[in-house]
Symmetry: C2
């Protein structure tokens, strides 16, 4: 069994703890949490510590804290030359303190408090400072996921930016759609099956093959009708820019 210590008690830490608890290849030996509150029903509360000096020797320390805190937390660790990784998509490998062997263990998924996640399908993006450490990290990831990738810091940065487009920005488009529904007294629920189908389509079709709508059809009269319908300046600006981008992509093909 690979011995793991988790540092942090937030959303990502909790989901990892629950996933590892069900794995036969790894054992969580400790969790560092400032508050020492119970973190998960699957975690023996005696394993929770808030004292750096009580940290036992583990094969892997996973720092699952906010990006801003990674450097400080990794520099507080009272040991050297052990494998210490963070879970961030945007922080580089070098944000970790030099005294330990560095790595990144980035689950590319959006975690919601209280919503169970099936880790098997979640892509894990791994990077280590030293080649030997990669195998340990890979074993740990493969014990909970079927999608494990070697991704260097530059690639991870690209993935993180792309994730902002397909996740954060997409969700914001849902919010704007919701606004338009509310302003015109139609239930947003009517759009939910469409939202799901849009995401399901992309699992098998390329985004360019899956594209539909007035801009894709170069249907300028529908576009003009939509633009005159939208009186909210923010909605209208975003409508125009995304429509123009779809039109331009059509021309490139």
């Amino acid at each position: 069994m690979i011995k793991i210590t988790i540092i942090g008690s937030g959303n990502v830490a909790q989901h990892l703890i629950d996933a590892f608890a069900k794995s036969n290849a790894v054992e969580i030996i400790q969790v560092f949490s400032r508050t020492q509150k119970p973190i998960s029903p699957l975690l023996d509360s005696t394993k929770i510590t808030n004292d750096w000096n009580t940290l036992a020797e583990a094969d892997l320390y996973i720092i699952a804290v906010s990006d801003d805190a990674i450097a400080a937390v990794s520099s507080q660790l009272p040991f050297e030359n052990r494998l210490v990784v963070h879970t961030s998509g945007s922080a580089p490998l070098i944000s970790l303190d030099n005294k330990n062997r560095k790595g990144v263990f980035y689950p590319l998924q959006t975690f919601t408090k209280g919503k169970a996640v099936d880790f098997k399908g979640i892509p894990f993006c791994l990077e280590t400072q030293f080649e030997n450490d990669y195998q340990v990290l890979e074993k740990v990831a493969q014990s909970i996921s079927d999608n494990v990738f070697a991704i260097d810091s530059h690639q991870r940065k690209a993935l993180h930016v792309a994730a902002v487009f397909v996740n954060n920005f997409t969700n914001h488009l849902y919010q704007l759609g919701n606004e338009i529904c509310q302003e015109n007294k139609v239930p947003f629920d009517i759009l939910k099956p469409l939202i799901l189908e849009t995401a399901e389509k992309i699992q098998t079709l390329s985004p360019s093959d899956a594209q539909t709508g007035p801009a894709k059809r170069n249907d300028l009269s529908t576009i003009a009708a939509h633009e005159s319908f939208l009186t909210n300046e923010n909605q209208s600006t975003i409508y125009k820019i995304l429509t123009q981008s779809i039109l331009n992509h059509g021309k490139k093909l």
Copy 2:
């Protein structure tokens, strides 16, 4: 059995034909198709006609053609005072010719050629010129879907614009994400589970509760890092505008 004639042989027509073929409440008596090619394995090919004058009497005529063609097709019908509906989200009720009783039968979903759709969950937005006709249209919709709504032309216009945001624009964000992946040699497949989870989250959470990411957290240093990462002008413009919109929405709360 309610007798239905479908006019058109495109994507929406084909999906409706397959759905009605399994319904016990309605019967497709004819399909008008200019080409007379076989349309669906579930449709007896003797029911296909390309001659307006052979159209038999039906309780309902569903015009499933492109928006531009609705007016012309409805004016070509060689009869009067029957119930004739179109399936468009953006065309108003009045785009149909005055000689027949008008209605709209709009399935709010994106249809992909060759991909089966479960109609039970698809919202149908109905509108009729005369109250009596609404019941017929409702029965027809309820025979294939559990989500039937009375939606007037103004509401339908709002829904259609909102659908452009949550479907067409969202898919375009997938395309930009794909571009960023390709430019940086990471497989787009890594983002697919995230795309699906983003759409699934919204089925139970409000878009504003589901929002995550640097703009939501007001994490200006990550935003600055992303902006300097993006060298493509179009990607960069869209990143800035959507980020600003999320930041502004955060301030409103």
